[in-house]
Structure formats: C-alpha cells, structure tokens
Symmetry: C2
Amino acid sequence: MLIQVEDAADPRLADYVRLRDMDLRKSLESEHGLFIAEGEKVIRRAVGAGHPVRSILTTAKWVERGLPDHIADVAGETTVYVVSDQVMAGVTGFPVHRGALASMGRTALPEVRELLNGTRRIVVLEDLTDHGNVGAIFRCAAALGVDAIVLSPRCADPLYRRSVKVSMGAVFAIPYARMIDWHGGLAEIRAAGFRTLALTPDQSATPLDEVVMAERVALLLGSEGDGLSSHWLKEADQPVRISMSPAAMELGVDSLNVVAAAAIACHGLLRR
Amino acid sequence: MLIQVEDAADPRLADYVRLRDMDLRKSLESEHGLFIAEGEKVIRRAVGAGHPVRSILTTAKWVERGLPDHIADVAGETTVYVVSDQVMAGVTGFPVHRGALASMGRTALPEVRELLNGTRRIVVLEDLTDHGNVGAIFRCAAALGVDAIVLSPRCADPLYRRSVKVSMGAVFAIPYARMIDWHGGLAEIRAAGFRTLALTPDQSATPLDEVVMAERVALLLGSEGDGLSSHWLKEADQPVRISMSPAAMELGVDSLNVVAAAAIACHGLLRR
C-alpha cells in the first residue's frame, strides 16, 4: 500500500530517522527490534533470510520509474511510504541514492551451542567495534566458505546499516550468534570440539602454512588496535600468524588491517 | 620556530584548509606540490622518505604537553604554527585528534621504467579511485613484501590524507610510479620481462594455487566495481582467480572486496 508523506517529522517515518547518528540508531534499533536495509539487493537478501518487513520508504521519483520487481512484490504486503527527495534527506539526514530503504524486523539469534551444530569451520570475533570491519569480514567469510561466525559480547552489530552495506548482504548469508559470556565463551567453543587458532602478529606464532588442521577449527580474530585479549590468547589451542616480509618488518610496516588479515587467514586455513 | 596564529583565515595556514573537501584538496595539493601528514608516526615516516617539511600545524595543548621528540627535531628546522582547538577545527574543518599536522612537499615520482629496476614482485592498480582502498593495498603490499606498485593514470593519489592514514604510512615504505599512458602501460611492464597475472572473479581463470610463477611477476588489480578493463584482461599473460566457496556462489556472495582480494593474492602469490 502506497502512502504519500509530506512531512519529515511524521511519526510514521520514525524507524528511518537520522540514519547517521550512531548512538541514536543503536538505541532505537535495539528497543524496537528493527534494522534498516538499503537498496534493492540488500532488501531482497534480508527478506530471503526470513526477516519481516515493517515498512518501506522510497521517493516519488523511484515510484515513477517503477519499483524493481522484488520490491514491488514486497510492497504488495507492506506499507510503502513515498516521499520527496527533500523529505527523504530530512528524515534520514542524508540523500539516499539507493532508491528504497526498508525497516526490517530482527529475528532471534540462535544460541552459540545451536549455531555450532553441523559446522566445521568458524570465525570468532573478539570485540571488533568497527561496523565496516565486521561487515567486510562477513563478506570474506561468506565468500570463502566459513560455516558460521561467533561474536563476542562487545562486537559491533552486523545488522547496523553500515555493516550490512559493507558486507554486500553477506550478513544474511552466513549464520551467526553472539556469546553471552566473554570470559567463558571460548571454553564453550573448545568444549564443542573446535581447535581454536588465535591469529596474532606475534612472529613467534606458527605460520598459517604450517598449521595442522583438525576436524573442527575456529579462527579467532581480535580488534584492530589491541588484537586478541590475553585471556583468549592464553586459552586458545594455538597462536598462528601471517608471515610478513622481513624487509617490511625492518621498515616498521609489520601489520595488516584486520580485514586483510581475516581474508588471508580464511583463505589459507579454512578451505582445507 | 613557534608562531601563534589566532585567526583561522590567516593565509599562513592556507596549506591546511578544509581537509575534508576532496575537490578543493585535490587541486590545492597538486598546484602547490604538497600533501598533509597527520600524526607523529606518519610525519616521521614522511620525513624519513625524504619529503621536505613546509610547516607544521599543532595546538597549544600539544605544545604544552611537550611535542614528541621527533616532531620537536623537525620543528627546529621549520615553522610550527600553534593554534587553539577552535582555530584548528576552523581551518581544517574537523577536530584534529592526532596532535600535529605537517604540510609536506611532494618529490618527483620515478618513471615506471626506473621503478622496475631490480624488482621481482610488483602490483599494478588499474583505476582504483577510492583513497581508502589504495591506502589499504599499499599497507598489505608493504607488509607482504611486494617490491613496488605501479598506478594507472586514473588511480587515486596515495599521498591524499585518507590514503596515507589508511596505509599507516606504508605509502612511504613502498616505491611507486604512475603510468603516463594507460593504453600502452601494460606493454611496457611486459617488455621489462614481467609475467602479468590479471586477478578476476571469473571462475574459469587459473586458481592462485595453480599459478606457475616466473622470475618477475606483476599482479594486476582492477577497481572494486568493474574489475580490470577488457583491454588489460586481454593483454595480460594469464587471468587468475581466488577460489570461492561453492555454497557462497549459490548464495550470490561471490566476490571479495578489492582489499581482501589483494591481500589474499599478494600473500598467496608474491611471497613465492
């Protein structure tokens, strides 16, 4: 059902307000159990992953051009708010170029124990707080065949708009769960029979190429600045590293960003 | 020499104006042959790479705390403009948290032919226009032992502030040159004896693991959206690919971002 809305302050558009205000969005999205999908491709994937559509927001210009088939299908069963470019920018805080936004309902995440059923190759993220990095790692992990991702309690939200966008929708393609308890979380994964490999820049760790794989393997990745906590490093079965160029070490260019490191490690380890 | 400046419009601060205005900065920096280094670590690396310091801009707060030794050394031989936090934000357009900015002089890039002397493993970037991606690829390439980088004429500037920042200063650690002629540029590299490998998502290309290496190898990377041009793909010695997970292909998560792809390919190929 198409509904014209003329006023950026109309309460029916409340799901879409100030999309670049991270603090506001975090509380709004968690309180109302929603997230925003941007653009036709992402909306299609979010719907495909079983998320209910709360509403769609688009501009008159896009409606005139004809909504993409898939959006039109979804639109038949939900409310589509149609606004001018000015109202769109007024509500969201920026000019939206991808035609349509959808407010989607969150669905309950599985528990870690449940998530691990039937998986062999997983990635565990400890305290990655950058939404772009989380999204990029989901994209890599999905493309390279990782079965599932476990997040520590403080990791950034994969359904935050920027994570979803950077992931190119991969957050809907790879199952994930969030630990309740950081301190005991790794022990639960080890108890499920996973060999836990802690990726570290420490050059005394085992190079990727020399790692002996196991039936079930979990790759642990820490945050960009601090790397993995000493608690997790100590508890992991083995520290592993990416071999750096000796010349680079001398120049002090001795680390990779977490996404590059994740890509190399997923490619090198988890395909085996 | 420390000079207090009270007015954000003072012409002596002209090198530092509106650092987030990309169009303005591009023309200003190329016309005056300068670039901006941000923070002590990056300034140190830029100086170490032989770039002359035009001036430094810092805040009274940082001067009171005591400038880091290295900045103090540099500061002894140049002009240091000291401003309030308000003037800093007024000039640059945002609150600078890294203490000091330096305006550095650009030095002439080598010609491609000159750059290639003595190199065995190089990366060639075709039309990567995103500064963050260019910086991240420099960081990967430097850490993984790539000898040099060649840019196509339309590639983003590695000395733009965002490239420098994302590279963590690696743009000063790895030599690079820019082709004059896109159409004939690859032929010049091949004529220098490089085997040119074109990275492509095309799953009929040779997987990385199966590539037969040569004495001199050039890895060609195209832009995020379009990949390599058909001209370069056709001219390259061999198309190569990263193996994707079959499950991911089915889900449509069938590509990696260019930085992740570059990291995997540099790690997989160029260390050999």
